[in-house]
Each structure stands twice: as structure tokens, then as C-alpha cells.
Point group: none
Chain length 205, copies 4
Amino acid sequence: MTATPARRRDATRTRALLLQTARRRFARDGYSSTTLRDIADEAGVNVALIARYFESKEGLFEACLTAAVDEIKRETGDAQLSEVHLIIADQAARIGEGGPPSQLMLLLRSSGDERADEIRRGVLRNSAERLAAAAGHHPGDDDTLLRAQVVLAASLGIVLLRSVGAMEPLQTADRDTLAGPLRDLVAALLPARDEPKRSRGSDGP
Amino acid sequence: MTATPARRRDATRTRALLLQTARRRFARDGYSSTTLRDIADEAGVNVALIARYFESKEGLFEACLTAAVDEIKRETGDAQLSEVHLIIADQAARIGEGGPPSQLMLLLRSSGDERADEIRRGVLRNSAERLAAAAGHHPGDDDTLLRAQVVLAASLGIVLLRSVGAMEPLQTADRDTLAGPLRDLVAALLPARDEPKRSRGSDGP
Amino acid sequence: MTATPARRRDATRTRALLLQTARRRFARDGYSSTTLRDIADEAGVNVALIARYFESKEGLFEACLTAAVDEIKRETGDAQLSEVHLIIADQAARIGEGGPPSQLMLLLRSSGDERADEIRRGVLRNSAERLAAAAGHHPGDDDTLLRAQVVLAASLGIVLLRSVGAMEPLQTADRDTLAGPLRDLVAALLPARDEPKRSRGSDGP
Amino acid sequence: MTATPARRRDATRTRALLLQTARRRFARDGYSSTTLRDIADEAGVNVALIARYFESKEGLFEACLTAAVDEIKRETGDAQLSEVHLIIADQAARIGEGGPPSQLMLLLRSSGDERADEIRRGVLRNSAERLAAAAGHHPGDDDTLLRAQVVLAASLGIVLLRSVGAMEPLQTADRDTLAGPLRDLVAALLPARDEPKRSRGSDGP
DNA sequence: TATGAATGAGAATTCATTCAT
DNA sequence: GATGAATGAATTCTCATTCAT
């Protein structure tokens, strides 16, 4: 990160460029529909560099997944239950015509690579658990965990539908419009901790 | 012309066999990850027969989609709002270790074929609309439609997560266990018609 | 050839139908570009019948060639030198938009089948020899034979160019228009027997 | 960067090698009878390189055609009418047992690719026109143009017959032997400009 | 570090042919 | 005699990967 202008042959930079491009393409088109040449061309570098930096197509995918996971964790790290619906709305709202596809999509894309798949599953499990924890989940309370997983499923479903396209008004709803139904959804499934579990609806201040 | 013991050379049967196999593979592995040879081998027939009966890979996919759509329509034709959560639970509960992947998955798989994609989108749109209608949707009421789409998204998300695997207790929850959270979810998003529409929760002071 | 109207399942008739269709397609599109299914479909019969009647694709081609050869021999059997140019003009003039492609084309199409190729070569050789004989060729007179072969080559070339298409006025010239240049050509190369060899030009009666 | 002993990995060289091989095979066997694997194997390189350098089989054929056209134009660029028969004899004489088939053959080979076919037709038309021009053709003079086309047809026919093989003495005639009949042929069809046009036939002692 | 050349495996698709009815 | 089902062997083309510079 020195002040070297007009740099070429910058390994870390090239690597990052490839990674970024790959994340977008994998998320948008899926693993097997994306070719390494597509990625390299879009990144403006030579295909062989992918092998250099990521070993193989699967290696690249794994790196994309790890990066996406880190990003998701960073963004949702200290989420409170009361803002979960906003976070979801946020993620979903990002997906639009021109914008980059949500990295959540990566979590739904299988590469056939067992290692990458295990990472994916781990992240999904972990996300649901954190969600459940925020809702006061304690070991053995399978119902809360299940409900958290349903919330996660709904989030992924919305992201998915938006990426599929052509379903109005969901397709173009903005963050605030999405937040309403999502708040109801979260409230119904994961009532705030200190309240009696069946009293959905009053998610208070 | 005997009582069909050990028949071979049965066109409709072979066609159906191919279609069934293809539906499972496409739903499970996605369009581009599935090879025609895979399908033919699994069906125990020669690859060239796929061309004979379905013209091309895209033709086969389109046939799968149409078949899935018909099946879905048949199964959910006259659904009442009060049983929507049961239908969803039903669909989701079908997906287990050995069982066939839900045909709903097909609706989320893109083939790149524009014609098939349009069918997919049409079915998705239509499903959401029927759901909204059951909830008393009337033209111009975008909020109810949006909420119906969120319910659909949640259903698809659950199916998706179950097909991804390894997320307990969602993975192995049975129909009745799933029905609970789903009832709450549907109730929260699509209140029964005869209730005042705005009485969901107390959304803010 | 009895007076049996409304016949189906007529072996010789089916065979003839296939042969006729095959001759047209092979002449028009060449051996390897023509598929048996094309031929069978155009003839309105089942593909398997080709195997029944002609053994194989090569067998069918050979049959076409033989038939074409017979036809050519019949039409040009007793040609006089003075009418050679008319015969050529005739053959060439047949090739037009809608009409059937000249069977001469078959003589230029290789099938890769050694036996068929030998037939082709034989016919070509023989044609040139008959032409030379009409011009008074005697054993050892290689020059006359060569000239006859050049005349044959020119004929084939014209047929070929017409079948290629899009070269006016050659493409649409009628028999009489073609006859002029062809008479000069034949006269120049194969002077009538009783005249001194170098005195081309007076092809009068 | 030594003095090019035993070089490999030379793109232009590989491309040229493929092109040369393809020209020979296409000219000899025709478009559909020639497989890309044949060409690649004969050239000693991998099949995939054809796609790399020429996009597709049709692309390769088009490149062959263009190359052949260029070569023909270069060799016949400034032909005088009086030497036309020598040029034809030259072309024809090249075709022998071991030698490469004349590139003229390519002009008669259809690929089914409309673009390539248009090139072919264009070249043929143009050749005839140049020939006619050398003979003093002026707009509207269809007769001279037709005669030039017949000369072209004869040339192609000779080339064709030689490539078919097995027709003596045409098959092995050398340039000078061919020149005689060809001179007569050209003279008969395209009398020299400064002579009265209708005086064909008696070209004096 | 980066590039372009070259490869081999595997994809869909086409087609002549054989089998069963 | 005729048909349709089924097969296996190509063929073109795509793509991840490796090699040489």
C-alpha cells in the first residue's frame, strides 16, 4: 500500500481483483456455469494466473466462499434480535439490476467440492445458531433453533427470488418496504426473550 | 402383448423414465452440473434417446419444468389460506436423505434457456398471486402481494436449506414439527381475510 | 405393373422411390452431407428400409451411381460428333432452380467407397473414349483422346458451375444459348474426322 | 531466441500449419468428409487449437477459402488473354499423384456456411469477369461473358477430373501437353480483341 | 510476475445401423 | 413388407489445466 502509482505486476492486487470478479460471477451464474476464462477476461488478466493464485477452480471457489463468509460475519457480528429484520432487508435490497449479487447466494451454490460444501454448511449452521442465541436459545431448545432456521431460510429465499428476477413488487422493493413484512416475520417466529413465547406481535421499543 | 412382464421397447415408458430421472438430477445438481450421460446411464438407456424424445438438453429441461409445474398445480390447486402452512410443511417434509429432491428446486434452477426461464418466472409469479388471492388480495394492494411473495420465498428457502443438508433440526423435522413455525409465519404475514388488515402487531408509536 | 390401384407395401415401388430420392439428394448435396434420414423422410418411408433394400449407405450410393450411369448411357448412346455440343447443352440446361440436379453431378461426388469410386472412374473414362471415337480416335492417338477428355471436363465444369449457382448469364442460359459456345468448343478441340485436324471452325453439315 | 532450431510454441507457425493442412484436406475430400481431428492429427497439433485460431470448422473453412482466393489472385493478377491457356495448364499440371490438390477445388466445395459460399461465388464471378475483360468484354455484351464463363468452367472441369484421378492421358499430361488443347479452346471461345468478334472459327493458318 | 501456447478430458449432438414387433 | 425403438460410434466444441517463455 505504498504510494506507487502506475503499478503493474502487483501480486496481491491481481489476486484481489480475481477474487472479487470470481465472487460476482459465481454468485450470479453459479459454479458450473462460470468459466475461468470468463473470470480472467473480466478481471483483465491471464487465465493461468488463477492456477497460480488459487490452485484450481475449486480452490478459487473456496476462497470466494471464505471471503463471503468473513464479510457476512463482519456485517452481522453483533446483531440484536430487534434489528435482524433490518439486516435481512438490507441484504435483500442490495440485489438489483445493476448491483452486485448478494454474497448470500454463494452459500446456496454447490461446487461439488466437498471441502467447500462443508464450509458452506458450517456457515449456514452457525448463522442460524447466532440468530437463535439472540432469541434466547438455550441448549436443548430445539423449537427456537428450528424457528431461527426458518427465519434464515426465509432470508435466503427472498434473496434467491430477487436474484431470479421478474417478481414484482418483491423484485424492486426497497429496504424500508421489505422491513415491514420481515419485522412481522421475525417477530412471529422469534419472540423477544423476556416476553412470553406465544405473544407474537408486540416487538416494542 | 402379454400382461407386460419384462417389457422392453416401450417408447412412452422410456420417455417417462428419462423424464423422471432428469427431474431428479436437475433438481438435485442443477442444470449445468448434470450431464445427459448421467441421466441416460441412471435411466439405463442410451444417451441418443434423449435427443430422440426431447430434442436437446434444453428441451429436456423444459419438459422437466413443465412436468413439475403441472404437479405443483395439481397438488396446490384449491388451497385455502388456513392450510397453506400445511402444504408448505408437506412439501418440505418430503425432502429427506434418500427421497427425491423437491420439484420446487427446479423453479430455482436456471438453464440459461430463455424459454424455460420464462416458464419458471411465470410459475413463481402465479404461485404468489394465488397465495395473495387466498389472503384477500385485491388489485392495487401491493402490500399483500409482497407479503405473499415473502411467504413463497420462505417456503422455497426451507426447501432449499433442507436440500443443502446438514442443518438440524430443520433437516429432519417432520411435517407436524414444521407446521408450527409455518403457521405462525403465514399468520403473521397473511392474516385471515375477515380480520382487520392493519392489526398486525403494533408497528410503532 | 398390374392394374392394382391403391397399393401399399409394394417392395419394388418403395425401392424405386428411395432410389430416386437418393439420387436427387446425393447429386445436390454430396455424399457425406446427405443423411439417410433425410432421404427416407423425403421419400416418406422408414429409414430401416434403406438397409433392407440397399444394405448400407454406400450400397445406396452405388445403386444411385449405377442408375445414373445407365441413364447417361441410354441418352448419349449413339451420339454423333456433330451433336455432341447439343447433348452437353441439354444436360447443362436441365439444371435450374426447381429442376432435378443433373446426374452428371453424381459422377463428381466421392463417397469414399472404393467400389463406387471405381464405377465412377470407369464411366468417366468410357465417356471420354466414346467421344474420342466419334472424333475418329484410333489406338495410340493420345492427342485426340486428351482433347476428348478436355471436352468432357468442360461439360462437367459447366454443369458444376450451374449447380453452384449465381453466375450469370451462365446460370440461366437456355439450351440454345449454351449451344453456341459449346459448338465452337467442340469444333476447336475435336475437328470432324474427314477434315484436316487444324482446320477448326466449319462444323457445317 | 536461437536461430530457430527445433522451435515449438510458435503461434503463427502453428496457425499456418493448420491452415495449410486444412486447405489440402478440404480441397481433396470436401468439407463434410473432412474431420477436424483429421486435420489436427495430420498437422501434429491438438484439435482444440483449431477452435483457438479459427473459432469453428466453418471459420477454418472460410480462412482456407480466403487464403486460396488470395493465392489465385496473386498468381493470375495481370494475365493477358494470350497466356490464359498457359495459366490454366499450369494450375492443372500441378495436380498429380503426390502433390497438393489445386486450390481451385476449394471453390467448388460447399460448406453449407452461407458466408463462405458467398465468398466462393464472388470469386468465381470475378474470375470470369476478368477473363471476359481481357477478351474485350464491355457492359451488356453477355455473349462474351458467357464464353468466358465457359472457359472458366472448362478449367475447373480439368482440375476436377485430374483430382478424381485415373483418366489417362489427362491425368499425367504435363503443362506443355495441356497447353495445346487449351490454347485452341481459349482461342475458339475468346478471340483476341483486335479481331472482328464474329470471325471465330477461321483463325487462319 | 505474467502471458500465451498447447493439451486432454469430457460435453452435447448427429447418424448409420441393428433389433423387435 | 414395414415401422419405430434403441444403440454405439463418431464429430464438433468447450474448458480446466499445464507448459514454455
